[in-house]
């Protein structure tokens, strides 16, 4: 315990947050602001006030994010450089995606997503090998692969954003408009949440479990996007989706979904370790899994984060609905399922916070919660019809 205290700044010694920032922090923040300024300079004529607000808000959020979680700085730089490289290679010619070596094999949107997919699957395998063998090197490799996959995923989305404008300026839109695109978003966000906890708790042994859900998302993505359905093609937006709200509503929702997915996979790990311990088996693999109360705590934190974002996203969705459909609440199936998901996790949090529930029952509940969430996320599009009928299966 003393090691952790000496490593972290003693909070009772006066030092302001601002003074704890390094030179790199400031240089990086300046770079983010410069990027925003450049975007403003280039595109402000096409932005309304809300979009200008979103640009500024995004810039400041990224800075805050990077200051609070340092790896974000390197991550964002890698993503920015690769994306800008791809965009500069494209110029104004979308056809280069088929002929230019770098684009075709590395950083055109589709190639980047393929790399992301492959890396996530490899990372899943590596994490499990790491768990079984206890090899530190394998674990670090798995972690590095997850980081790389997450870089490629975001690069894929950003380049796709540009590609949509290269098809036609009317077609251009932020790539969060159909199931193919949001599955990429889901994978990235879940991975980032996991990587945050991995960094915080310095244990790699949950990786396999969490990456399992990401690998499933990747499997769906490949089937849905590159199979006979061809959902990976960029489609123009229906009028209802042409709004600045999409830029905030959808990502906020997916932070929620990602956090719930993370909590569910931690729940799985919890249940496995718990039942093995109860059966009296205490092999090296079981010992390598983090302590039950640590898993339990991270699961709670993940659901709390997901709940906060999901609430925010639902509110933003209601405000958007009020503007597009003429009412902030219409009992549309997607809205209703959002309410069900919300009630589900509200009940979970109540039981934990006021009834003092811990451990197994809540772990089970988090796992079941994932299925409720999944239904709200894809089931509604598959089985029910309604206003949210974008990206049907």
């Amino acid at each position: 315990m003393s090691t952790t205290t000496s490593e972290m700044q003693n909070m009772f010694e006066k030092q302001s947050f601002w003074r704890s920032l390094s030179l790199f922090d400031w240089v990086w923040a300046a770079a983010v602001l410069l990027g925003c300024g450049y975007a403003w300079n280039q595109y402000s004529a096409h932005m309304d006030n809300y979009e200008a607000g979103i640009l500024l808000g995004t810039g400041l959020s990224i800075i805050a994010w990077g200051w609070l979680w340092k790896p974000v700085r390197a991550y964002s730089i890698a993503v920015a450089l690769l994306s800008l490289f791809a965009i500069s290679l494209y110029g104004n010619n979308l056809a280069l995606g088929e002929s230019n070596f770098f684009l075709k094999f590395l950083i055109s949107s589709k190639s980047a997503i393929m790399w992301m997919s492959a890396l996530y699957v490899l990372a899943t395998v590596a994490y499990f090998i790491g768990l079984v063998t206890g090899s530190e090197f394998t674990n670090k490799t798995a972690s590095a692969m997850t980081w790389s996959a997450t870089v490629m995923g975001l690069v894929g989305l950003l380049v796709r954003w540009r590609e949509s404008y290269l098809i036609h300026v009317d077609v251009g839109h932020i790539p969060v408009s159909n199931l193919y695109e949001v599955f990429i978003l889901f994978s990235i966000i879940t991975a980032l949440l996991y990587l945050y906890y991995e960094g915080k708790s310095r244990t790699y042994n949950m990786g396999g479990f969490v990456l399992l859900v990401i690998s499933s998302a990747v499997a769906f993505l490949l089937w849905y996007g590159f199979g006979s359905r061809g959902a990976s093609e960029i489609q123009p937006l229906v009028p209802a989706l042409q709004s600045y709200w999409m830029k905030i509503h959808v990502p906020a929702n997916f932070v929620g979904y990602g956090a719930f997915a993370l909590a569910a996979m931690l729940g799985v790990a919890y249940l496995i370790k718990d039942s093995m311990l109860k059966r009296g088996s205490d092999g090296p693999i079981i010992r390598r899994l983090p302590d039950l109360d640590v898993v339990d705590d991270v699961m709670y934190k993940s659901i709390a984060l997901g709940f906060a974002f999901f609430t925010l996203a639902t509110i933003l969705g209601a405000m958007w609905a009020a503007e597009a459909w003429g009412g902030y609440w219409s009992w549309d199936p997607k809205e209703t399922w959002a309410l069900i998901v919300w009630l589900n996790y509200a009940a979970w949090l109540h039981l934990r916070l006021t009834k003092g529930w811990r451990g197994r029952p809540l772990a089970w509940w988090a796992v079941i919660g994932l299925f409720v969430t999944l239904f709200a996320f894809i089931g509604v599009n598959m089985f029910l019809s309604g206003l949210h009928s974008y990206g049907e299966l």
Binding site: P236, Q242, A308, T311, W325, I340, L351
Partner: protein, 696 residues
């Protein structure tokens, strides 16, 4: 009772950790309920069990509403579930669950439960937020999970000053108290966490109440009182009786819709209520001047927008605005949304070409889309119902590779139904303009017996004038018995001319065969001819007979075609052009399958006048801003609850050994963040260790 109160106050003051479980607090607060029954009821309503049960029940009810499609026409449900289950579901109000009595009751119950919960906990939470809890006993501090003791040589003041400064650095605020020479410092941080509870639960109540105010609850009450009755008949708005009408100031909240053709004005909207509707009058007139729709290359709508003017009935104030999806017009507490688009009564100039045997009927008239008209046929009267007019039809281009265009606009189409006297209908889709197929132009017409089937298409070739005249002239000649007798005799003579030995009877026989074959073909196409052969000719001869019959058939049809060309005034001389030859092939092919088209007439759209209608949604939601305020509270509350950790630290400095030394007791608790607090406590201990040289 008195004793119990006393006990619980002590408990609360000496509480080693802030209470986590509700039961203790409930018991403590229960003194608020004055009577036994009231107390039991209140503690039941405010209990977590009731709340969780309600969450689950509301969740399940909501799920039912998403599985069972809501607010469909009652007939749809009857077809789906049968009359018995329809009645059961209807009486449970399952077709409009979210405004059913029992669902509203459930939400009301949830509201009451939340309110009682707030009533129970609010005073406790407020106290927890404000108080420092100075009078905590030494014993309970020592029992805390994080607790340590130092024996120090510094004076009480010195030690206190040091500790207070460190606590302030750590973000703690503190109070102190000197009692019997013992100095107690109580510090806390993140007490706003307690306000999170009030914010979230208050927000839920605010949101639910405001949303209820915006719902159609008041209409249901008025319906129950017999003051309102939804209209279920298909009436013009002006004919709807007053019991189904709501005046402009008669309804504080609604969501209605209306489809308005270009150039027209309205001052009402329709409110859907179960299987009927109400007419809601508006305090302003809404005029649609122009409606525009833009498409992507793929034919998908890119944007649609309406130029509207609203005129206040009282003040005469006028506001003009262009509204589109995501950009509504807000006026007073009304909002006008672009919701959909529709046909606003386009006028079709139609030509009817009879396809019946023996009929050469041609009719010409104008008809509005959405209306129907009786047409006389040989089988009696049929109804021609114009269903839908589409100004463009974009389809994937089969020649995308050559032309570089992925999509192709096939031009306008008219969808219509022909309903016979027994009520059976077939649906047709006719293209207004001829379409190119393999270099030739055809009028396309699709037919299907039900909307679930795909259309089967008939291709009618066009002549050099891009008209259908030649096609129908050919048909009409085939239908003309006298002319056909003449033509078949002439053809028979011509075809047998070379053979001088043949007798006149043979010519006569040949003419009869030709006439019969042409007649069979005219009635039922190639199929009819083949069927005739199969019926009359033994199997072993069929092949040869079929070959010669088809040869004969083509000879007669060819002559008929030449006659048609001559009638048109085409100089055919010795040879017809390859295009005219090709036309003959297409003509015969089309005629040959015409029997499958199964329509008494062909409808040609000669011209049209396109009129669009814009679908508006008009709403009045005075509770909206309160809902948003509630949402802001909810977010603030959630952030406070999850991201502000409530922590308390107590310091007790007691003189010992006759005042030469002091005993420093430090204890604390992190409420829901014990792990994090334990680290914090360790950090503080390290500083104290350094300062007080581990005297203990």
């Amino acid at each position: 009772m008195n004793q119990e109160k006393q006990y619980s106050r002590n408990q609360s003051a000496e509480n080693t950790e802030p209470p986590e479980t509700s039961s203790r607090v409930t018991r403590q607060r229960s003194s608020r309920g004055e009577h036994g029954l009231g107390r039991v009821l209140l503690s039941f309503l405010g209990s977590m069990e009731v709340a969780i049960t309600l969450f689950v029940v509301v969740g399940i009810a909501s799920i039912i509403g998403t599985i069972l499609q809501q607010n469909q026409a009652y007939n749809t449900y009857i077809v789906k579930f049968g009359p018995f289950w329809f009645e059961v579901f209807r009486s449970l109000e399952l077709f409009d669950i979210y405004s059913s009595w029992w669902f509203v009751f459930l939400l009301g119950f949830l509201l009451v439960s939340t309110s009682v919960c707030i009533y129970h906990y609010a005073p406790f939470m407020l106290r927890e937020w404000r108080r420092f809890r100075l009078n905590v006993s030494e014993k309970s501090l020592k029992l805390m999970h994080c607790s340590r003791l130092w024996k120090i040589s510094q004076s009480q003041e010195q030690a206190a000053a040091f500790v207070k400064q460190k606590l302030a650095n750590g973000g703690y605020s503190s109070r102190e108290q000197l009692e019997n020479g013992v100095l107690t410092i109580a510090a806390k941080k993140g007490a706003a966490n307690r306000l999170g509870y009030l914010f979230t639960h208050g927000a839920i109540i605010l949101i639910c109440l405001s949303a209820l105010y915006d719902g159609n609850f008041n209409l249901k009450l008025r319906e129950l009182a017999g003051q309102l009755k939804p209209e279920t008949r298909d009436l013009l708005a002006s004919q709807v009786p007053s019991i189904s009408r709501l005046g402009p100031n008669d309804n504080h909240a609604f969501r209605g819709s209306i489809s308005l053709p270009e150039g027209s004005t309205t001052n009402i909207v329709f409110l859907q209520m179960r299987n009927g509707f109400l007419v809601q009058e508006l305090p302003f007139n809404l005029t649609l001047h122009d409606f525009r729709i833009e498409h992507y290359e793929s034919g998908m709508p890119k944007s649609f927008e309406s130029d509207i003017v609203i005129e206040d009935q009282q003040t005469g104030e006028k506001i003009s605005k262009t509204i589109k999806v995501n950009h509504p017009l807000l006026y007073r507490d009304f909002a006008i949304y672009q919701a959909s688009f529709d046909d606003g009564g386009s006028i079709m100039d139609l030509q009817i070409w009879s396809l019946e045997n023996g009929s050469r009927h041609i009719e010409n008239f104008k008809q509005v889309v959405g209306k129907s008209r009786d047409i006389e046929t040989a089988q009696g009267k049929v109804k021609l119902e114009l269903v839908e007019f589409k100004a463009s039809n974009v389809q994937p281009n089969p020649k995308a590779e050559e032309t570089g265009h992925k999509f192709k606009n096939m031009g306008p189409t008219l969808t219509f139904r022909i309903r016979d006297s027994s009520g059976q209908a077939k649906e047709y889709i006719n293209y207004v303009l001829p379409t190119e197929q393999e270099g030739r132009m055809f009028f396309l017409s699709g037919v299907r017996s039900s909307t679930s089937e795909p259309f089967r298409y008939l291709f009618i070739p066009v002549d050099e004038q891009f008209s259908l005249k030649r096609f129908f002239a050919f048909r009409s000649l085939l239908n003309n018995h006298a002319e056909m007798e003449r033509i078949s005799r002439k053809t028979a003579e011509l075809s047998l001319q070379g053979d001088r030995k043949l007798k006149p009877e043979l010519v006569e026989q040949m003419a009869v065969v030709m006439l019969r074959l042409a007649d069979l073909f005219n009635k039922g196409g190639f199929d009819q001819v083949l069927e005739d052969i199969n019926n009359k000719v033994p199997e072993e001869k069929r092949q040869t007979v079929t070959e010669s019959y088809f040869k004969v058939l083509h000879t007669i049809l060819g002559t008929v075609y030449l006659e048609v060309l001559q009638q048109e005034g085409v100089d055919i001389g010795n040879n017809i052009t390859p295009a005219q030859e090709q036309y003959y092939d297409d003509l015969v092919n089309t005629m040959g399958v015409l029997a499958n088209y199964d329509a008494p007439f062909y409808v040609q759209i000669k011209s049209f006048e396109h009129k669009q209608a814009s679908g508006f949604q008009i709403t009045r939601a005075p509770g909206k801003d309160l809902v948003y305020l509630g949402c802001i509270f909810l977010v603030i509350g959630i952030v406070l609850m999850f991201y502000v950790a409530h922590k308390r630290i107590w310091i007790r400095i007691k003189p010992i050994e006759g005042g030469r030394m002091n005993e420093l007791l430090v204890a604390g608790s992190g409420d829901r963040h014990q792990k994090e607090f334990a680290r914090e406590f360790e950090a503080l201990s390290e500083l104290l260790d350094r300062e007080f040289k581990k005297d203990n």
